[in-house]
């Protein structure tokens, strides 16, 4: 641009302002400074709308629609769940990238890499917790997105294929989360994934199942090869697949438009793509502002949750020789674990989930009702609610409280100090477990001590109470567990190390004596935590250690 003649024509100031405006317009991909000001002031766009230019100029904006129907921009119509699941995928990518810096997918290193990440990397635990929280939230959000679509009947023609790609995305999200589960290489990961892949084994015919299982695990048992495969699935293959299907899904969403609230249009009509001029809400600036502020708010929520509440669990290192009692799948697969308890592996692990998935994907074709109005869809909505309730019941059956109770003595100890994870005793911690012998058949604490502990150490009093009531409960329930005597012995094993010994004796139905003893150890410095509870910040008040 020839500046000199312009300066001659206009003044210097005007030329400079013109250049500045030009630069601004380039950065905003077509919005001039004056138009930006009018946007901020909430003024209506002129005609023709000068705010549409960025949609043709900028890549990220060209995939967004230029305007929406006013009624679908209301928060409570979509809850912005689709946007949110996309955003969570983005969060997972960023945090995952940071985690990859400190992680090598090999059984020799994976677990120590995790402990090193937690104890030597500034914000390392934050990144890991955020990644885990994002993964769990993503599943919740994707499922909620699907439930919303179901309830508003938005899967109906012409959006059947959009729904189908959505079901694929749900499956990919679940697999992404599950494949990430193995990577820390702890007991939780190892056994959940061993159970998960063993379901592939049940795929008929036998040769196919065995091959799929072998391909997933990389060996008859999960080991270095299996870990590498899951790692590659998690960081490479599944994300790529998900990105591909996301674009297919989103293209369809934009193509057909977000379905309007049912009462906005006649039954059987679909007018989402023909928005009357007076109902248009332009993406720039209104929807963009809403979406941005919503995501900023959501990010703040995630950060606060991660800093103060949520902690990703890390159990002891994977041990193929010992299965911890009550191994559970991740919560979003509890329903599958529940099914596996009542049917054999082929039915519950392959056929039923396959049928369920087929039903889910086929919903648009199974539901011939053209109306999307709630009062016309009683059958669909009620059967949806029933399906939800059934899922919750199956999930409950997946928890250790259903059908896999071990012997009473084992169960009592497991309840208080599980083989893996926190539990009442470990959460109390070294300092609040006074040495002594506590016998449920006698006065567990002398009165003076009890009164003292109720003030200074209520958690321990609660523990003793729980120990006693659990023993009494099993005494009542189980006819092979009579006249029990449960003794908890806490003693000093080493400096800074206490031995927690459980001795439980009982008589079975025939009067034969039974005995159970088990020792655990608790170190002064170890911290055990609950996944979803308030964080333990007690280390902040710990005095500096003399080194």
């Amino acid at each position: 641009m020839a500046v000199q003649p312009e300066v001659k024509n206009k003044t210097l100031l005007e030329t400079a302002l013109g250049l500045a405006d030009d630069t601004f317009t380039r950065i905003t991909a077509g919005i001039s400074a004056g138009e930006f000001r009018r946007m901020l002031r909430g003024e209506a766009p002129g005609k023709p709308n000068p705010r549409l230019k960025p949609h043709t100029e900028a890549f990220l904006l060209h995939i967004k629609p230029t305007y929406y129907h006013e009624s679908v921009t209301r928060f409570t119509h979509t809850f912005r769940l689709g946007l949110l699941s996309t955003y969570l995928f983005f969060v997972e990518t960023i945090t995952g990238l940071f985690l990859m810096i400190w992680y090598a997918p090999s059984p020799d290193r994976a677990y120590t890499d995790m402990t090193r990440l937690l104890s030597n990397v500034p914000f390392g635990q934050f990144m890991r917790d955020l990644h885990r929280l994002g993964a769990e939230m993503m599943i919740v959000v994707v499922v909620a997105h699907m439930v919303r679509t179901y309830l508003t009947g938005s899967y109906k023609p012409p959006r059947q294929f959009t729904w189908f790609t959505g079901v694929l995305l749900l499956v990919m999200t679940l697999f992404l989360s599950f494949s990430g589960y193995l990577l820390p290489w702890d007991q939780l990961a190892f056994w959940a994934v061993t159970i998960g892949t063993s379901m592939a084994d049940a795929v008929p015919p036998q040769i196919v199942g065995a091959t799929v299982n072998l391909l997933a695990r990389g060996a008859p048992d999960i080991s270095a090869n299996g870990l590498l495969r899951f790692y590659l699935l998690h960081v490479f293959f599944l994300p790529l697949l998900l990105i591909l299907f996301f674009f297919v899904h989103y293209y369809k969403v934009v193509h057909f438009g977000i379905s309007l609230p049912a009462q906005e249009e006649e039954v059987g009509q679909d007018t989402a793509s023909k928005v009357p001029a007076d109902r248009r809400v332009y993406y720039l600036p209104d929807v963009l502002l809403d979406e941005t502020m919503f995501l900023i708010g959501f990010t703040a929520l995630m950060i606060v949750l991660t800093v103060f509440f949520f902690q990703a669990p890390l159990e002891s290192i994977a041990n193929p020789q010992s299965t911890p009692l009550h191994t559970v799948a991740p919560w979003y697969f509890y329903w599958l674990q529940g099914l596996l308890k009542i049917a054999n592996k082929m039915v519950a692990g392959v056929i039923l989930p396959g049928v369920l998935l087929g039903l889910l994907a086929g919903i648009p074709y199974l539901d011939p009702n053209p109306s999307r109005r709630g009062k016309d869809r009683r059958v669909a909505i009620i059967s949806g609610i029933i399906a939800g309730v059934v899922m919750i019941i199956w999930s409950w059956m997946g928890t250790p409280y259903y059908a896999v109770r071990a012997a009473p003595a084992t169960e009592i100890v497991q309840e208080l100090i599980p083989e893996e994870g926190a539990g009442l005793v470990r959460e109390l911690g070294y300092a609040r477990l006074p040495n002594g012998i506590y016998d449920t058949t006698k006065e567990m604490l002398p009165e003076a001590t009890l009164a003292d502990y109720e003030k200074t150490n209520p958690g321990f009093v609660e523990l003793l109470h729980e120990f006693k009531s659990l023993t009494a409960e099993f005494d009542k329930e189980d006819k092979d567990f009579n006249e029990p005597q449960s003794i908890l012995t806490i003693s000093q094993e080493q400096p800074h190390l206490k031995r927690i010994q459980w001795t439980i004796t009982w008589k079975d139905a025939k009067g034969k004596d039974g005995k159970f003893t088990r020792s655990f150890f608790i170190h002064e410095d170890s911290m055990y935590w609950e996944q979803y509870g308030l964080r333990d910040f007690s280390y902040l008040s710990k005095p500096e250690k003399a080194k």
Binding site: A300, L497, L540
Partner: protein, 343 residues
């Protein structure tokens, strides 16, 4: 479209939206700043946490594999395996074997690769190779956990007295004012180190003032400054009254060498000491003129009087008479010879 009843909940003003967004940014930064402020302390606590957890795991491994030879509290069993919970072990042992590395590495290597034992060594048991690298059952991380557990004795071991027995009360047992069933047992915090006879100790003799003991007097030889006996006062602190023979059998470390649940047969003589499952049949035939009871009694109080052919002399400790009362030895003999003893 009709406005829904919750319409008032919608934030409509763009300015309010922007302000709320800015507030969220502020909250995020505040939370991140808070995290950043205690990041150093958190990392320290996490380092300690994972160390603590590995000590816990190590304790589990020790209490299921190692205690049979090294003793429940790591103070060793005479003639079977040396003490690890010992001042000598933490301060002098490395110098004596000429180990240039750290104690951590010394322990880890011994656990992983084991320790050879000569047939006439003072230790009746060979230290097995534990690491799966050398054919044992443990993974590397488990070897590390046991090592951390053994190292965790350091603080207590360093307070041990080299020589004169001092009676101190145990750390922390009760003291909470009469918790039911708790007994406060005084513990003799004396170095329980039992001499390694593999070479003279380079420790100054005036700091290790063990009284010349009865344990393998023949083996003392060049290591006169470094022979020891378990202090008599340790027994003084033991509970009064005779202990039951089953308990004695393990407490006196008989079980370290003899298998009471296996018969001695030509194919299965028993190592390092003869099997004792069928001793009630064979005892009377060993020494002419001694009936079964006399023979077993003499073998306990004076092991060298008769050594079963094929076994070396001088391995079995000779101080049992000082460690058990007459009554206890008699009951032990009876128990060993009882053909109906539950196996």
């Amino acid at each position: 479209m009709r406005k829904p009843w919750y319409f008032w909940l919608y934030v409509r003003s763009p300015i309010t939206k922007i302000l709320l967004g800015m507030l969220a940014v502020l909250i995020s930064f505040a939370a991140l700043a808070a995290q950043g402020m205690f990041e150093n302390k958190r990392m320290e606590a996490q380092t300690d946490n994972w160390h603590g957890r590995s000590v816990e795991k190590g304790a589990e491994i020790f209490s299921s594999n190692c205690y049979t030879c090294h003793g429940v509290d790591g103070k060793g069993l005479p003639g079977v395996a040396p003490a690890l919970h010992s001042r000598y072990f933490f301060t002098q042992r490395m110098k004596d074997v000429g180990w240039a590395g750290s104690l951590h590495d010394y322990i880890a290597l011994t656990v992983a690769a084991g320790r050879p034992s000569k047939s006439k060594s003072q230790w009746s048991q060979v230290m097995p190779t534990w690491s799966s690298k050398y054919g044992g059952p443990m993974r590397d991380d488990q070897v590390e956990q046991v090592t951390q557990f053994v190292l965790n004795w350091q603080e207590d071991a360093l307070t041990q007295d080299w020589g004169t027995p001092a009676i101190t009360s145990t750390t922390g047992v009760s003291g909470t004012g009469g918790v039911t069933g708790t007994t406060v047992t005084p513990m003799v915090n004396l170095d329980p180190f039992q001499p390694f006879h593999d070479g003279p100790s380079k420790a100054p003799t005036n700091t290790i003032t063990y009284t010349v003991g009865t344990l393998g007097a023949a083996a003392v030889g060049t290591t006169a400054a470094l022979s020891a006996t378990l202090p008599q006062s340790a027994e003084a602190a033991a509970p009064a009254g005779p202990r039951p023979p089953q308990e004695l059998y393990t407490a006196m470390a008989c079980s370290g060498c003899h298998k009471i649940d296996q018969d001695q047969t030509p194919d299965n003589q028993g190592q390092p000491g003869p099997n004792q499952g069928n001793l009630h049949e064979t005892a009377a035939t060993r020494v002419s003129g001694e009936d079964a009871e006399t023979y077993v009694y003499n073998s306990i109080v004076n092991p060298s009087a008769f050594v079963v052919p094929g076994y070396p002399d001088g391995i079995m400790p000779k101080d049992f008479k000082t460690k058990m009362s007459e009554e206890e030895i008699r009951s032990l003999v009876k128990w060993i010879l009882d053909p109906n003893r539950p196996k």
